[in-house]
C-alpha cells in the first residue's frame, strides 16, 4: 500500500518549476546530441533544413557515414593509435604518479617540503611551448606516440588528489606492515594499492580522457601520418571543406561530408562514453575521498 502525500499548492508550484527546469536542462543537453546523431545518419539525397533533418524518420536514415568511416584505413589506423596512447599513457602516468603521490603522503619523509615545492613549481609556472618543444625533440620523442603522453605523464593536480587519498588511509595499517619489516615499496604495493582501487581508476580515467582527447601534443610532435591519433583525424575531417565540399566525392566515398563529420564525432566519443558507466561508482568515491583533505 502506498500512501500519497498530499502536496500543498505552493509545493506543487515549486515541484512544477523544478521539473520544468530539469526538463529544460535535459533538452539543452539532448538537442545538440540528437542533432549531431541525426546528422550522422542523414542520407546524401536528403533535402530539407537542419530542423527537418532532426525529425527524419529512422527508416530513412543512412549508415553510409559509419560504414565509410569504419572501412577507411585512416580512421582505423588513427583509432588504433589512440587506443595505444590511451593504454600506454595511463600505465605510464600511473607508474609515475603513484610513487610520487605516495612519497608526498608520508609525513616523515625527509625533504618532503622541498619535494612538495619542486612538484608545485611547474604547476604554478608553465615553462611554455618552446622549452617543452625543445625538451621533447631533444629526448628524441618526435614521431613517437610517447610524445603525446609522456609530457603530461605526471599531472600535479592528479598527484595531489592521489596524495590526499593515500593520506586518508589508516596510518595503522602501514605502520603495522613497517613493524613487520616491510619496506616502503612493499607497503605501497601490498597495503596501499589494494586499498586504492577507487583513486587508481579515477585518476586513470582522468589521464585516459586527457590522452584520448589530446590534440595539441600530437599535432606538434607527430609527423608521420601513420602515427596520428583520432583527434588529429577528427580535426581534419571537421575542417574539410573548400573545394572538396563542392565535388561529388569526399575521402570517405558517397556519404555526405556533414554526415561523416557528425559520425566521426560520435565514433571518437564512444570509447569514453562506454568507459564511464563502468568506472562511475569508483569515480565518485575516489574523488570524494580525495577531496576531504586538500
Amino acid at each position: 500500500m502506498t500512501s500519497a502525500i498530499k502536496l500543498s499548492k505552493s509545493d506543487r508550484v515549486f515541484h512544477f518549476f523544478i521539473d520544468a527546469s530539469l526538463f529544460l536542462i535535459l533538452a539543452i543537453l539532448i538537442i545538440p546530441i540528437w542533432s549531431t546523431l541525426t546528422l550522422s545518419f542523414r542520407p546524401n539525397d536528403f533535402i530539407g533544413s537542419a530542423l527537418d533533418g532532426m525529425f527524419l524518420a529512422p527508416w530513412k536514415w543512412s549508415t553510409a557515414a559509419y560504414r565509410a568511416l569504419l572501412g577507411h584505413r585512416s580512421f582505423l589506423h588513427s583509432a588504433g593509435n589512440s587506443f595505444r596512447i590511451f593504454f600506454e599513457g595511463v600505465a605510464t602516468a600511473l607508474f609515475f604518479t603513484v610513487p610520487l603521490a605516495y612519497a608526498l603522503s608520508i609525513k616523515s619523509l625527509p625533504g618532503r617540503r622541498l619535494l612538495y615545492i619542486i612538484v608545485l613549481i611547474p604547476y604554478l609556472f608553465n615553462p611554455g611551448l618552446i622549452p617543452n618543444y625543445l625538451l621533447v625533440t631533444k629526448l628524441g620523442l618526435v614521431d613517437k606516440l610517447a610524445a603525446v603522453y609522456l609530457p603530461g605523464a605526471v599531472s600535479v593536480y592528479n598527484t595531489l588528489i592521489m596524495k590526499s587519498f593515500f593520506e586518508e588511509l589508516p596510518e595503522e595499517l602501514k605502520e603495522s606492515a613497517r613493524i613487520d619489516g616491510a619496506s616502503e615499496l612493499t607497503v605501497l604495493l601490498r597495503i596501499v594499492l589494494p586499498l586504492s582501487k577507487p583513486i587508481l581508476l579515477t585518476i586513470g580515467l582522468y589521464y585516459g580522457v586527457h590522452f584520448w582527447n589530446d590534440f595539441f601534443n600530437a599535432m606538434l610532435y607527430i609527423n608521420s601520418a601513420k602515427l596520428q591519433p583520432l583527434p588529429i583525424l577528427l580535426r581534419n575531417i571537421l575542417l574539410s571543406s573548400g573545394m572538396n565540399e563542392y565535388v561529388e566525392v569526399s575521402a570517405f566515398g558517397e556519404a555526405p561530408i556533414y554526415a561523416i563529420k557528425a559520425a566521426s564525432v560520435f565514433l571518437a566519443a564512444i570509447p569514453m562514453l562506454v568507459a564511464y558507466p563502468f568506472i562511475q561508482k569508483y569515480f565518485v568515491k575516489g574523488t570524494m575521498l580525495g577531496s576531504i583533505k586538500g
Binding site: I47, I232, Y246, V247
Partner: protein, 518 residues
C-alpha cells in the same frame, strides 16, 4: 716481377674498392623533408609504395620524407613556429604569409632567387612576375609561390525558368533587380498557386575581406562600389562601411527587407540550410559557388524537384553611378619556403630538381591524378577522367585520393584540371550540365580586385570591432535600428572610438609600404 705484379694487383683492387665506395656515396640520395598542405585533409597520406617515392629516389636522387601540415591555419603556424624556434624546420614547407615574414626576419628561410633558373618546367605556368613579387622582400625572393585556389568562382544566378514564366527580362540595374525580386515573391513564379517564394536568397557568410553583410550580399553592395571589407584604391582607401555609398547600399537592402522580397530567414540560415532552400525552390536569385550549384551530386536534388528548372548566370546589377561587381577577389598563392638549414646543407639544387620534375608533363599528371590506367584514363577528347579505371583506385575514390595529396603543388587551374574535376553530366530531362558551364561566365563578370587586403594586420581589438560593425549593419538592415543619417553617423563615430579610424590609418600605411594600393 711476380711480387711486383701482385703488389700492383693489390693496389688496383684497393683503388677499385675505394672508387666503388665513393661511387656509392655519390649515389646516396639527398633526403628532403617536405611539409605539405594536403589537398584533401581527411584522406590519408600517399601509401608507402607510392610510385613517386621510387621515381624521386631512382631518377632524382632524392629520398622524400612527407608530412602533411595540420588542416587548420593557426595550427600550421604553431607547428612551424615551434619547429623554427627549435631550429628544426623541414627542408621545404608550405607556410602562410604572416609566419613566413617572421621567419624571414629571423633568418630561418633561405632566398631562392638562384633556384628559379633550375626549374625551367615551372617557368611557364607556375612562376610569373606576380608570383615572384608575392615572395620578394627587399629585392630577394624568399619563397616559391604556387598558384592558389580558383578565383572568381562564384556568381549571381537567377532562375531562368521563373523569368521566362513571368515574361521578365534579366535585370540590369538595381531598379530592375528589385522589380524582378518583387515579381518572384508575389507573382507565383513556380506556378504552384502558393505564396511560397522569394526574390533573393542569402545567408550570413563572413570572411576577413567580406564583413558587414557578408559575401552573399556583395553583388548588391558592389552596385554601390562598396563590396568587401576594404576599399583598396589609393584615393579612397579605407573601410567600406565608412563610405557614404555604404549608407545608400544599406537603404536599398533595407528596402528589399521591408518589401519582404528577401528570404526572411537569411540572418539565421546556415550554409547547408541555404543550399537546401534553393534546392527546394524557395528563391530565384542568389550568389552561389559554381560547383556547389552545378556539380552532379549537388545539382541532383534540385533536378529531382524541378526537372525544368534552370539557373543562369547574370551580370551583377549596375548601381546609380554605373558600378557593378559580383564581389571581391585576391590574387592568391601558396608559399613554399626553403629553410636556411636546408640551404646551408646544400639541398637547394635537389629541391629545385624535385619541384621541376613535378612540373614536367609526366610529373604533373603523376602528382595531379596518379598513374594512367590505375588512377585515371584519357577519354576520346584527350581529357583526364576517372572513368575506365578500377573503382577503388580511381583518383576520385577514397584510396585514389591519397596519391593526389600533393596536387596543390602542381595544379594551376588549367583546363585539364577543371575538366577532370568537374565533369559534365545529363540532367533528368537530357540537358548537358556541369560546373564548367557556369565558371567561365562567372569569371567574365565584373569583380573587385583587393589584392593585398588579405595581408592587413588585424586590429588589436579585432573581434569586438568586427562584432560591433557587423551586428550594427545587420540591425540597420533589419530595421531594429532606424536607418537615418543621424543614427548612421552616431554608429560610425562609435566605430571610430572602438578603433576603426586607427585601424584604417595603420592599414593604409601598411598597404602603401607594400605597394598594394591601386
Amino acid at each position: 716481377m711476380r711480387k711486383y705484379t701482385r703488389f700492383s694487383l693489390a693496389i688496383l683492387l684497393i683503388c677499385v674498392v675505394i672508387t666503388s665506395a665513393f661511387g656509392q656515396a655519390a649515389k646516396k640520395p639527398v633526403t628532403i623533408e617536405l611539409w605539405y598542405g594536403a589537398a584533401i585533409t581527411e584522406a590519408g597520406p600517399p601509401p608507402d609504395d607510392w610510385v613517386f617515392y621510387k621515381i624521386a629516389r631512382e631518377q632524382l636522387g632524392i629520398d622524400l620524407k612527407l608530412m602533411a601540415l595540420p588542416s587548420n591555419e593557426n595550427d600550421q603556424d604553431v607547428k612551424i613556429l615551434a619547429a623554427a624556434a627549435a631550429n628544426q624546420l623541414p627542408d621545404l614547407f608550405m607556410v602562410r604569409r604572416d609566419p613566413w615574414q617572421v621567419l624571414i626576419k629571423q633568418g630561418l628561410v633561405a632566398d631562392v632567387d638562384d633556384m628559379y633558373p633550375l626549374m625551367p618546367h615551372r617557368a611557364k605556368n607556375w612562376f610569373d612576375e606576380d608570383s615572384r613579387a608575392h615572395t620578394t622582400i627587399n629585392g630577394k625572393s624568399y619563397g616559391l609561390a604556387f598558384p592558389g585556389s580558383l578565383q572568381k568562382n562564384e556568381g549571381l544566378v537567377i532562375r531562368k525558368d521563373w523569368l521566362d514564366r513571368l515574361g521578365l527580362k534579366v535585370p540590369t540595374n538595381l531598379d530592375e533587380f528589385f522589380d524582378v525580386c518583387y515579381a518572384f515573391t508575389y507573382k507565383d513564379p513556380d506556378g504552384n498557386g502558393k505564396n511560397d517564394t522569394y526574390g533573393f536568397g542569402a545567408f550570413v557568410e563572413y570572411f576577413d575581406q567580406e564583413q558587414y553583410l557578408g559575401r552573399r550580399f556583395d553583388p548588391i553592395m558592389g552596385a554601390f562600389g562598396v563590396a568587401g571589407t576594404w576599399n583598396m584604391t589609393k584615393d579612397n582607401f579605407g573601410l567600406n562601411v565608412k563610405k557614404p555609398e555604404f549608407y545608400d547600399a544599406l537603404q536599398f537592402v533595407n528596402k528589399m527587407v521591408d518589401a519582404k522580397v528577401i528570404d526572411p530567414d537569411w540572418p539565421s540560415l546556415k550554409k547547408d540550410d541555404f543550399r537546401a532552400a534553393w534546392k527546394q525552390g524557395k528563391f530565384g536569385i542568389m550568389r552561389e559557388q559554381f560547383a556547389a550549384l552545378a556539380a552532379a551530386a549537388n545539382y541532383a536534388p534540385f533536378d529531382k524537384n524541378f526537372p525544368n528548372g534552370e539557373w543562369a548566370v547574370i551580370p551583377p546589377p549596375k548601381g546609380p553611378k554605373g558600378k557593378s561587381s559580383v564581389g571581391i577577389y585576391d590574387t592568391n598563392f601558396r608559399i613554399y619556403a626553403v629553410s636556411a638549414k636546408a640551404a646551408k646543407a646544400g639541398k637547394k639544387e635537389a629541391i629545385a630538381r624535385l619541384l621541376d620534375y613535378m612540373a614536367t608533363d609526366e610529373g604533373y599528371k603523376l602528382i595531379g591524378w596518379g598513374v594512367e590506367g590505375v588512377n585515371y584514363s584519357i577519354d576520346k577528347d584527350g581529357n583526364i577522367t576517372d572513368k575506365g579505371v578500377p573503382n577503388d583506385t580511381k583518383f576520385s575514390s577514397p584510396k585514389g585520393q591519397t596519391v593526389t595529396q600533393l596536387r596543390n603543388m602542381v595544379f594551376y587551374n588549367s583546363e585539364m584540371e577543371l575538366i577532370s574535376r568537374y565533369p559534365y553530366f545529363k540532367t533528368s530531362n537530357g540537358r548537358t550540365m556541369g560546373p564548367l558551364l557556369y565558371l567561365k561566365t562567372m569569371q567574365s563578370m565584373p569583380w573587385t580586385n583587393v589584392t593585398g587586403a588579405g595581408t592587413i594586420r588585424p586590429h588589436p581589438n579585432n573581434a569586438d570591432l568586427k562584432r560591433y560593425m557587423n551586428q550594427g549593419v545587420q540591425e540597420f538592415v533589419l530595421g531594429k535600428q532606424a536607418l537615418t543619417k543621424e543614427n548612421w553617423q552616431a554608429f560610425i563615430v562609435q566605430m571610430d572610438k572602438l578603433g576603426a579610424a586607427e585601424w584604417e590609418r595603420a592599414a593604409r600605411q601598411q598597404m602603401e609600404e607594400a605597394g598594394y594600393l591601386q
